[in-house]
Every structure is written in C-alpha cells, then in structure tokens.
C-alpha cells in the first residue's frame, strides 16, 4: 500500500503494509538513524519521535496512523545549528554508549515544548519511562536544566532584539 509521510518537513512516499510499525519505515525505508529499536513494546523509549508535538513511541504505532508532523532526532537542528538540548548534551558530556540518547533527547524536547521551565520533580516524572542502561540519568537531568537555562536566556535576548 502506498503511503505518504511528512518527516522533518520532507514528504516521502513508501509502499508498505499499513500495519508496519512506524519505526521500521523510518529506519529501513527512509534511512533515518535517530529512532532505534529497543523493546518493540513501548517500554523503553529508544524509538521516540515527536508526532504533532507529542513524544511518540514509533515501535508500537502503525505507519498508517501517522501521516505528517513527524520529527526525528535528525530534524532537531535548524540552519546547521544544534537544538539547545543537543548542545547541552554535548556541554554536559551526557552519553556513555549513547544508544538510548535519541529517546532521552526527544522525550526532553516534547517535555520542554509543553513546559519550558519544569521543576526537578517534573523532569523526573516526564522522563521516567525513558530508560538508559548505562545509567546516564543524572547527567540527562543536568543537561535538561542546562538547556532550560540556555533557552530562557535566548528568549530574553530575542526580546531585547525585538525591543
């Protein structure tokens, strides 16, 4: 069955069984490497993409259910500049192996989009189902706070420019 998907602002047409989980289409048909297989059960978050603003576990979503508004890790950078979360991840030197970090970053992105200034408890709560077996959680939380600060400073300076 021919389906059209809009991912990271680009349109793609694929010919797949409509029940195929979105993850396999993103990885195997579109050649994206951000979302990865971890459990196929929606438990770990490695496959997270953002669909219309919501962190979505692409391993359990049939491709036919989503058509547009899909953002993957590859789509976060704008105009060659990393998203503040990605930059915070580098500044904080978060990853160990890094295999789960797609899930960490994409979940954090959706969290901050909804709540730009979360409390520590809200970060723990919002990130809780996103697993890391190298146990980088402490640094992930530090990087989120660092990004929150950087984004707030950016908003202030943007306002000053406008003023």
């Amino acid at each position: 069955m021919s389906l059209t998907l809009i991912v990271n602002g680009k349109s793609h047409t694929v010919d797949v069984d409509p029940s195929t989980p979105l993850l396999y289409v993103l990885r195997n048909d579109l050649g994206l490497q951000g979302p990865r297989f971890g459990c196929g059960l929606g438990q770990c978050g490695l496959c997270t993409v953002i669909v219309n603003g919501a962190a979505t576990r692409s391993c359990i979503v049939p491709v036919s259910r989503v058509k547009s508004g899909i953002t993957t890790l590859e789509g976060l950078a704008k105009d060659g500049k990393l998203h503040p979360l990605q930059q915070a991840w580098i500044d904080e030197q978060v990853p160990q192996c890094g295999f789960c970090q797609n899930g960490q970053i994409m979940t954090a992105k959706a969290l901050l989009d909804k709540n730009p200034n979360p409390t520590d408890a809200e970060i723990r709560e919002g990130m809780n189902g996103t697993l890391c077996r190298c146990m980088t959680y402490y640094r992930v939380q530090a990087a989120i706070k660092r990004a929150v600060k950087a984004m707030a400073e950016h908003r202030v300076s943007a306002k000053e420019v406008v003023a």
Partner: protein
C-alpha cells in the same frame, strides 16, 4: 601522488584510503572510507592479521600534519578513544585536535583484543604510548638529517620540528612523512610488549593527559549522524529473527513451514538441532513470520532449574562442581572458639541480567567468497576467530568491522548475533541482518552468576575483629567464554558440546584489612540444565565483584555495629593496624580513599544504626569499600526509606576513587557516576525471575531497571591520588571502568540498616521485600 612499494597489502590499502581530518578536528568514525563494500561486494580477501610490529600499523601522519591512530580497542561507552588520542598525541607531540582514532576493525587495526577487564588505560595504552614515542624519535631523526644537525639541537612543538634558537628553520611532521610510510619495525613477543627504541615521556611532560577534551564520539551521537552497527544496510540484504525454545531444555520435534510460506516477504526457515530462524525480505515481515511459525517442541523430562524463589536453598544444598583451595591466615578455628562474640549471616544475590538497552544484533555479508560481520562486539577479534571456527573457514576470509552499539559490559564478548548472522548469511547466500527481540534478550542473554555467601566473624571483648570466615557459592558452572565457537548460544542449540564445561568461578573479597585469623573459601555450583539454558552465565561488568563485596562489606558493617563502632572508623582501624608494604601501595591508597570519601560526604562518626527517626521517611548513611586490581573505590550512600511503602530512594552518593594516573578526569567522573548507578540498579531493582520451566523475566516490567525517578539528588566523585609519592614520573594508570560497581550494593544495604536498624541480606531491595523486613522488625 605517493607510490607505495613493497609494503604489506593491508597497509597500502589503509594508507591509500585514509582520509584527512576535517578542519574542526572532529573526526567521525564511520565505516565509510575504510571498510565499505566495493560495488556492493566485500573487498577481495584474504584479510590478514595486521602486523603490530610495524609503526605504520598504529600511526599514519597525513600531509597536513594531522595523525590518525589505529588501535585494537573498542569503546563500550566510556570514551576511551578520546583518552587514546590524548595519550598518543602527547607522546608523538602533535596537537590533540589534529588527531583521530580508529578502533577495533580486524582488517585495519592491530589485535589488542578489543575491550574488557578495564584494561584500556592500565594495559593497552602502554604499547600505544611506546609506538607514538618511537614515531616521534624517527621524525626527530628525519629532522636531524634534513637540517644536518644532531637531534639534541632540535625541538618539537605540536608537530613542528625546529632548530633550537633558530625557529625560522623548521619542518612539519606532514612535510617529513605526510602520506608516506614509516617503514620502521618494532619489537615485542606479544602486542602488549610492543616497543621501539624510544622511551615514553615522564608523566610530568604529558600535556594532554590530565585535561578533559570533550569526547569526539558524542556530537554524532546526539545529532543522529553516527552510523551504528544496527544501521548497516547492504544491497540484497534480508532480515532474520530467531525462534527460541519456549521452555528451557525443550527439543525441536518438527517445524510446519507451511505456516509461514505464504506470508509476504518470506525467504526461508533455517533450522539445525534446536536452532530455528526465519528469514524475510523486510524486518517487520521477519518479526511476523517468527511469531507465526508453528514449531513443535518436546518438553524436557527434568526441570532445568529450581524456581527463582527456591534458588538459594538449592544452591546451599547442591554438591559444588568445584571448590578452590581456601585462603587461610592464622588459625580461624581457635580464634572463633575463644571469641567474646561470634556473628553469622547468609547473603543472597540472585542472577542479574545484562539486559542491554538494545537486543543483540549483527549484519553478515557473505559476498565475494569472504565473510564480513558488522558488529558492536566489544571483542571483535575474538568474534572473527569464533566465526571462522564456527563456519569452518580460514580466519583470513573473515573480518569484523566494529561499529558502535549499546553498552558492552561483557555481553558482547559473548556475542551470539554475530555467529548467527554469519551462519544464516552462509546458508542464504545474501547479507543477513539478525536482531533479537526484547523478550529473547532479557530471557536468554548472559547472566551475572547468583551468589549465596555464608559469613562468620568473631570479636574480642574490646570489639576488635579477630576472625573472619567467608564462604561463597556461585552458580557459575559452564560460564561462557569470548565468542567461542562451541559455547555461543547458536552452537549450543545446534548440539555442539565441548568435552568439559568451563569450571566457572566464585570470588573472595577484595580488601586489605588486617585480620589476624581469616578463611576465605569459594565454590561453584551448577543448575541441573547445563547446556542450552537461558541461565547461561557470562561476564557482567566486574563479573563477581558486586556479589562478593555485597556479602563481605555488609558483614563488616554488621561487625562494626556489634562492636558499637563507627563503620568508617572500624574499617580504618583494620587498614591501619598493619604496616607491611603491599602491592601497589594498596593499603596506603585505601586509607587515603576512605578519608577522601568521608571528607567529601561530611561523615559524622557514630555507630549504626542511628537512633530511629519518627515519621514516614527514615534516613541513614552507609559506606563500603573495595579494590579491583589496583583501583580503589570507597562509596557512601545516603538513603531515605519509606516505612509505609518500603520504597528506598538513594538521595546522595559519594565515590572516592584512585586509579592512579588519570587521563581524562571528566570522562572518568562520568564513568564512575554511571558505574555506581549501574550497581544501584542491581541493588534496588534487578533480579532474573524464573519458574521451573523457563525464565519469566521477559521485558522491562519483569526485569526492571533504574529509572529517572530513582536518580540521587547529588552525586560527588572525588578523584584521589593516594600514591605515597604522587609526583613520580612513572605513575601508571589503572582500570576505571568497573571499580565503582563493586561497593554499591553493600553501601546501600548499610545505609538502610543505619536508617532503620533492619539488615537486608537479600538483593534486590525492592519495596515489597523492604516492607516485609520492616514489618518483621515491627517498624
């Protein structure tokens, strides 16, 4: 265009393909230029071993003066490549940001065994340093010839050799040898002994060592550009999924291939012995076909293992398969007889899984009469040997291209997917990608052995520890090795048996306490099912350390409490009461590390438990210490125990750590933090559960792990250099990857005791178990 004459083919290939660094100095390791297939086919073989006795096998200097280092290591996520660049650029005298590091692909890098045992800096950085120093010596020689001056009239700074006192006379490394071979032979009977004529620099002369350049592998990991082993795609590839026996020890009776033949994309069912796999054109098709395939299995006549609830009774009663000779100091029997107080306690640590965040995976390409495996195997060289043996083909026809993957920690040293992919690729004649499913990985990965430990200790009337007995049983029989062709799971399922299963190992505690009378005994026991079992044991990060240290360091705390002594002081007394010189100043360094941990935490001296608080939350602190090799770690945990729910939150962690020379402090701190949290996860969550037919831990609910909610509020890592002469020029680096895993289980148990007065001797400390113990103690 440089021409190469009379040089080994692999070096020529590598030289001609090596790309110059990007100007930013950020070099993304990819399998692009080095190992990519040519026209969709494997490059022509054979793939000989890379000769470690040639400088050219380790270092290439490009015309722009940048250098690429080729090392026989892999990175499990601790950023070792960055540290190798630091240490080699220092010895070679090139700027750090003009270097790159290529790791672990068997046809382009020397065989240093990949990674394992925290040997990256302790052992494997030494040949790298010596080869880089030799390259520098040779470059000085070339400079000397160019200027007609003796080498002592020359100086070098960041790859530029100049004449002393006349900086206008200078030449760059790139001008001297860029794009050309060194053609310099090295010596050494084995790769660890590799050396040239040059000496390495004294520690004080190292400039990049001790700094914390950011890891080069992190940017491509956060922007999505890194190509991981899971990402490899080849023309004509197919996807495979395994079908595992539903019950441990079940025998395959028959397969009804018609159940999947008409499914879309179906290619083939491959089966031999009890190994079954389904191959399809697309990944989701293979998953569906593996779930649909009708297979008839025969239930085994005997139970493969006791249930996880009865595990420890079984382990205590069964006859050991082997017992090591006990280590005896003094006369423990007499000391116990004459003691004022004798304590006894049993400690139980269950099987715990690797449960890697990504299940096992590999891609194998059988094209052009060769076999290439794209894999995250941390011991890629071992996989090459194992696959060659398993397939019965010469090693020269096999290469393993190492690529990044989920954490290794020993799981990928017993890699199953690589052998499976190679076998299936040979059968199908097309590139095959294998990936295990979550339930398969959690149930069937290699496990850390369960331990049942009996402790006995004696105090004299003054509260001095006069005798200690440690007696451990580890369920570790038939411990699997490193990609061995007769122990990887596919071989076992196919009915391959080695003559005698591996003996396995137990462990004795790692401390340097001065205890006058001591006995340490270690035994290995077996489960009834030895082969084809989901309870295969393998190395999990510091393989026996967390288990043995949980028992020994919890019990030291029990003895301190019985002596009404502060747990830190009690240990300190055991360390300071002997003055004998010891290996690597372990005793002096242990004392320094304990002090550093106590200072960083602000340890108040008092016996445990503290007077019990009131209210729902009880807090306390506990410590534990041990060493691994020459690396010392002391850890302090502060906990909050919810007496209503039994929930334990570790609010604060401190680790003082001495691993000798520190190459990259920031990388080390991150590694230590994460190693502590890994063991915290084992302390409070992890246990493999099984009934008498099968493993029932199949996913993240049934084998839970640490989550964001569990993370401490504050973690402090203190890097200590407790060498009595900390400025010595030959200060060696010791291992840093596993040492912090060891003390954590005991530190948490000791903190729970401090908070509640309740001693937990069974891991993990999940809420229901803690609550039951609190209730039993009427709290």
């Amino acid at each position: 265009m440089t021409t190469f004459n009379g040089i080994p083919k692999h070096v020529e290939d590598v030289l001609s393909r090596r790309s110059v660094l990007k100007s930013a100095g950020l070099f993304v390791v990819s399998f692009g230029p080095l190992t990519a297939p040519v026209n969709g086919q494997n490059p022509a073989g054979p793939y000989p071993d890379v000769d470690y006795r040639q400088v050219d096998s380790w270092i290439v200097i490009h015309e722009d003066g940048s250098a690429t280092f080729y090392v026989g290591k892999t990175d499990c996520g601790q950023g070792t490549g960055t540290s190798f660049r630091q240490i080699m650029s220092d010895e070679l005298d090139v700027a750090y940001d003009k270097t790159a590091c290529i790791m672990g692909s068997t046809d382009v890098t020397v065989d240093q065994g990949g990674s394992g045992g925290s040997t990256a800096m302790e052992r494997d950085s030494w040949p790298m340093r010596r080869v880089a120093a030799e390259a520098r010596r040779v470059l000085f020689q070339m400079g000397s010839e160019r200027f007609g001056l003796p080498v002592d009239q020359l100086v070098v700074n960041e790859g530029v050799i100049s004449v002393k006192g006349d900086p206008s006379k200078s030449v760059t490394y790139g001008q001297l040898i860029g794009g050309k071979r060194f053609n310099v032979a090295l010596t050494g009977d084995n790769i660890n002994a590799t050396s040239g004529a040059a000496s390495v620099k004294p520690v004080q002369a190292l400039k990049n060592v001790g700094l914390s350049p950011q890891r080069y592998d992190i940017p491509p990991k956060v922007d999505g550009s890194l190509k991981w082993a899971v990402d490899v795609k080849l023309p004509g590839m197919v996807h495979a999924r395994n079908v595992k026996p539903p019950l441990a020890g079940a025998k395959l009776v028959g397969i009804d291939e018609t159940s999947v033949r008409s499914l879309p994309g179906f290619v083939k069912v491959v089966s031999k012995g009890n190994y079954v796999a389904v191959v399809c054109e697309r990944e989701e098709q293979a998953i569906r076909a593996a779930n649909t395939l009708k297979v008839n299995w025969q239930k085994p006549s005997a139970a493969p293992f006791p249930s996880s609830e009865n595990l420890f009774n079984y382990m205590r009663e069964v006859k050991p398969t082997s017992s090591s000779k006990p280590i005896v100091v003094g006369d423990p029997e007499t000391a116990f007889d004459g003691a004022a107080k004798v304590l006894e306690a049993d400690y139980d640590i269950p099987f715990q899984g690797h449960t890697a965040i990504s299940p096992a995976h590999a891609m194998a390409d059988p094209s052009n009469g060769q076999m290439t495996i794209y894999s995250n195997d941390m011991k890629s060289y071992g996989m090459r040997r194992g696959v060659a043996q398993f397939l019965g083909v010469p090693r020269e026809k096999v290469r393993v291209v190492w690529m990044e993957g989920p954490q290794g920690f020993g799981r990928t040293a017993a890699d199953d997917a690589g052998c499976e992919a190679a076998y299936l690729a040979k059968e199908i004649g097309r590139p095959v990608r294998v990936q295990w499913m979550r339930s398969e990985e959690t149930a069937w990965d290699t496990k850390a052995p369960a331990f049942a430990v009996k402790m006995k200790g004696a105090l004299d009337a003054s509260g001095n520890l006069v005798a200690l007995d440690y007696n451990a049983r580890a369920a570790d029989y038939n411990h699997v090795g490193y990609n061995e062709a007769d122990t990887v799971l596919i071989a076992q399922l196919m009915g391959i048996r080695r003559g005698k299963p591996a003996e396995g190992s137990s462990a004795v505690p790692s401390d340097v306490y001065a205890i006058p009378n001591r006995r340490m005994a270690a035994h290995v026991v077996s489960m009834p099912l030895v082969w084809e079992t989901p309870l295969r044991t393998g190395n999990l990060r510091d393989p026996n350390g967390p288990q043995s240290t949980f028992a020994s360091e919890s019990f030291i705390d029990e003895l301190a409490a019985a002596a009404k002594a502060d747990p830190m002081e009690f240990r300190m007394k055991l360390l300071t009461s002997a003055t004998a010189e010891d290996n690597g100043f372990r005793r002096a360094r242990s004392i320094a590390v304990l002090k550093a941990a106590a200072d960083a935490y602000g340890w108040d001296r008092r016996p445990s438990p503290k007077p019990r608080g009131t209210g729902e939350i009880l807090s306390g602190r506990g410590m534990a210490y041990s060493f691994r090799g020459q690396t010392i770690a002391a850890e302090i945990a502060e906990v909050e125990v919810n007496v209503r729910t039994g929930h334990v939150w570790v609010k604060r962690l401190v680790c003082a750590h001495d691993c000798g020379l520190v190459i990259n402090p920031q990388s080390l701190r991150r590694t230590v933090e994460c190693a502590m949290l890994h063991s915290l996860s084992r302390a409070i969550h992890e246990e493999v559960q099984f009934d008498t037919e099968k493993v029932t831990s199949m996913d993240w609910n049934s084998h839970p792990t640490l989550t964001h909610a569990d993370v401490p509020e504050k973690i402090d890592v203190v890097l200590v250099n407790g060498d009595p002469n900390p400025n010595r020029p030959d200060l060696p680096p010791y291992g840093g990857g596993e040492s912090a895993c060891k003390p954590m289980l005991a530190a948490v148990a000791n903190a729970i005791y401090d908070a509640t007065g309740v001693r937990l001797r069974r891991v993990p400390f999940r809420a229901p178990r803690v609550l039951a113990a609190l209730k039993a103690a009427q709290i």
